[in-house]
């Protein structure tokens, strides 16, 4: 065996073991112990696995090599963790030698240490890159999945980065926005100015600023923006991060809500006014009645029939006032809850008008004159009209006209038909309505300050307005203080025009 090996040239830095198929050492190089983990166990006739534990598992390889099934087996850079100090790296190379195997071992520590430092750098760089990529990927995904619009600009406001939501919200493509000034999107100069001043204090955060913006197609948007400043790699060159949320829908809902609240407040006001007014309006006639009853109780025996009569008269008068007040309140109440309806039916207009005028004339007495001016073309004609609504309109307007006219005053009532519209004009020469009160004319219980002690509920014109509205008609008022008032009511004749 030795003689065989002596023919081989084995360089000085290589050691060897010659092994039989059971890994028993048949021969060894003189200094092979320096590579063994347990040098004391290196001996001819010993199991090589005792001194070289890493040979556990190499049985098959050795056998295959000896059998000629495998040419050789090469294991690069084996080291042991049990080794203290600088590690020793050995290359193992199994080859066949006669009917045995030779394990050639070479110290490759130097090259392996070098390799290690190269690999170390490469792997660290790769790990860093992979972590960076993962986090970039992650951030990108977050940004692109954000529901809020994101803009990042340079210090001077040039757009550098945008996300999907920003493109969708404003209707621009990425190409159209990158490089453009942010002012293209945010037109609110005040906000941009405030944002740019933050350059000074980058800890700050401008939040919740509502900005009116425009889509590419011109559509309006209300966007709630926040802005913060981030430091870029270049010292003194910050970037601005704008995040915008479309709050148009919310704003509109808010407006609607405010409207509803306003309406509710109005209704509440109305209710309180209603209660105070009605109680007030009822108190006067009630106390009058009480007073008259008192007087009658105490003095009826002493008084003449005439005097008693005047008190009974007053009681009747007060009761009538209260009844009409109650009627008006009921009408308004019904209109308020939508129970007052437009229900037209055939009506002989001239007869109806004459009847109403006569009625009012009767109440007004001979001191006043109501002049009804009917166009002859109306004679005897029948129209589809809502008698009830018409009655509400006319009795109130005519009663008012009379009530606020001076003694002996005349009320002109003109009725025309033109293009399927019924035009009713009621003109008096009464006290007139102050300009400031004209816009509140149709509000419940509103009464102008110049009414003096002329009694009234403040409901008549509200009823008129409600009836005209149900009719989809129009009412206008022209009035001058001390000169008179004209109400013009126009009602469509062919049912309700489509709104």
């Amino acid at each position: 065996m030795n003689s065989l090996l002596e023919k081989l040239y084995v360089p000085g830095h290589i050691e060897y073991l010659i092994l039989d198929p059971n890994l028993v050492i048949l021969d060894k190089s003189p200094r092979v112990e320096r590579f063994a983990e347990f040098p004391q166990d290196v001996a001819i006739g010993q199991d090589a696995r005792l001194s070289f534990p890493e040979l556990v598992g190499s049985e098959t390889i050795v056998q295959q090599i000896i059998a000629g099934n495998t040419q050789n087996s090469y294991l690069e850079g084996i080291t042991r963790s049990s080794q203290a100090g600088t590690p020793l790296y050995i290359d193992f190379n199994f080859e066949r030698i006669g009917n045995n195997a030779i394990l050639l071992m070479e110290d490759v520590t130097e090259i392996m240490v070098l390799k290690q430092s190269l690999l170390q750098r490469a792997n660290e760089a790769e790990l860093l890159l992979s972590a960076l990529k993962a986090s970039e990927d992650y951030n990108k995904k977050i940004i692109s999945s954000m529901g809020d619009a994101l803009f990042v600009t340079t210090g001077s406001g040039k757009i550098k980065t945008i996300n999907q939501a920003a493109q969708q919200l404003f209707g621009y493509s990425e190409d159209e926005l990158i490089g453009q000034p942010i002012a293209l999107i945010i037109e609110d100069e005040q906000f941009l100015l405030e944002a740019s001043q933050q350059k000074l204090s980058s800890q700050q955060f401008l939040a919740g600023v509502e900005v009116l913006c425009h889509r590419k197609n011109g559509g309006e948007l209300i966007v709630e923006f926040s802005c913060s400043v981030i430091q870029t790699r270049i010292q003194g060159s910050p970037a601005f991060v704008y995040i915008g949320r479309d709050i148009t829908a919310r704003k509109n809902a808010e407006i609607e809500m405010n409207k509803a609240l306003e309406k509710e407040k109005e209704l509440n006001d109305l209710k309180s006014r209603f209660i105070s007014m009605t109680s007030h309006e009822f108190r006067n006639p009630l106390s009058s009645i009480l007073m008259s009853v008192d007087i009658l109780e105490n003095f009826a025996d002493e008084w003449s029939e005439d005097r008693k009569d005047s008190h009974l008269q007053r009681i009747r008068q007060c009761t009538t006032t209260m009844t009409s007040l109650l009627d008006d309140i009921l009408i308004i109440g019904r209109a308020e809850v939508g129970k007052l309806e437009f229900k037209p039916s055939p009506l002989k207009l001239t007869d109806f008008l004459q009847y109403i005028v006569e009625d009012i004339q009767l109440l007004a007495g001979s001191d006043y004159k109501i002049a009804l001016n009917l166009s002859p073309s109306l004679d005897g004609k029948i129209f589809q009209l809502d008698e009830k609504l018409l009655r509400h309109i006319l009795t109130n307007l005519l009663t008012n006209a009379v009530k606020y006219s001076p003694q002996g005053g005349q009320v002109d009532f003109e009725v025309r038909i033109e293009n399927n519209w019924l035009h009713l004009t009621i003109q008096d020469q009464g006290i007139g309505i102050p300009p400031a009160d004209q816009e509140h004319l149709f509000e419940c219980f509103h009464r102008a300050p110049n009414v003096g002690d002329i009694s009234g509920t403040g409901l008549g014109l509200s009823i008129v307005k409600k009836a005209v509205d149900l009719y989809r008609g129009k009412i206008v008022c022209r009035s001058e203080l001390g000169v008179g008032t004209t109400f013009q009511v126009d009602l469509p004749l062919n049912g309700i025009p489509k709104s």
Binding site: R49, P53, E54, V56, G57, S58, E59, T60, I61, S73, Y74, L75, E76, G77, I78, T79, R80, S81, S82, P87, Y89, M112, K115, Q116, L119, Q120, A122, N123, E124, E126, L127, S130, A134
Partner: protein, 178 residues
């Protein structure tokens, strides 16, 4: 009773924590520093199988081959895997590509040693949300019958480290003693 020695290999991509798992198992230590392995570094540890089966008073000496991790430029040398009774295939749960490579590593080993036992370690679970780990596990499966199971491990916290080595050792022993 003679103590049995068995060769097991750690394989997987670079930086997944092969060395750290061994270090935790053998030396009960962990370091956050990364020192990449070149060639192969061999460690030893005697495992008492009593941990797994109470009646069993059997010890097994594992020779653990910590093999240089696979990189884009270098595959794992198959010669290292020859004669291994089992392998521990390791992936880094924070790096998807290392998980995707598990299958290739398993195949490489099975091609060399169709009888060897295989344990799969999803390492560094301390860095990942348990929910995500669940999802990762759902997305993977191994058809090879040699695969004992997939273990969530952490060399840092020690989670499942002893367990995975001991299980591997036990299955290797049982295969020889059926």
């Amino acid at each position: 009773m003679a103590i049995i020695s068995k060769k097991v290999c750690m394989i997987g991509d670079f930086g997944v924590g092969k060395t750290s798992l061994i270090r935790r198992f053998v030396e009960r230590q962990f370091s956050d520093q990364y020192l990449s392995t070149v060639g192969v570094k061999i460690s030893r540890k005697i495992v008492n199988l009593q941990h797994l089966e109470v009646d069993l008073s059997q010890e097994i000496k594992l020779l653990i081959w910590d093999i240089e991790g696979q990189t884009k430029f270098k595959a794992i040398a198959s010669s290292y895997l020859q004669g291994a009774s089992g392998i521990l295939v390791v992936a880094d749960s924070t790096r998807q590509e290392t998980i995707e490579h598990l299958q290739d590593h398993v195949k490489q080993f099975v091609a060399i040693n169709s009888n060897g036992m295989i344990a799969v370690a999803l390492n560094k679970v301390d860095l990942v949300d348990p929910e995500d780990i669940e999802q990762i596990r759902k997305n993977m499966s191994f058809s090879e019958h040699q695969v004992l199971g997939i273990y969530n491990t952490s060399a840092k916290t020690g989670q499942n480290v002893d367990h995975i080595f001991e299980t591997l050792a036990f299955k290797i022993w049982r295969q020889d003693n059926r």
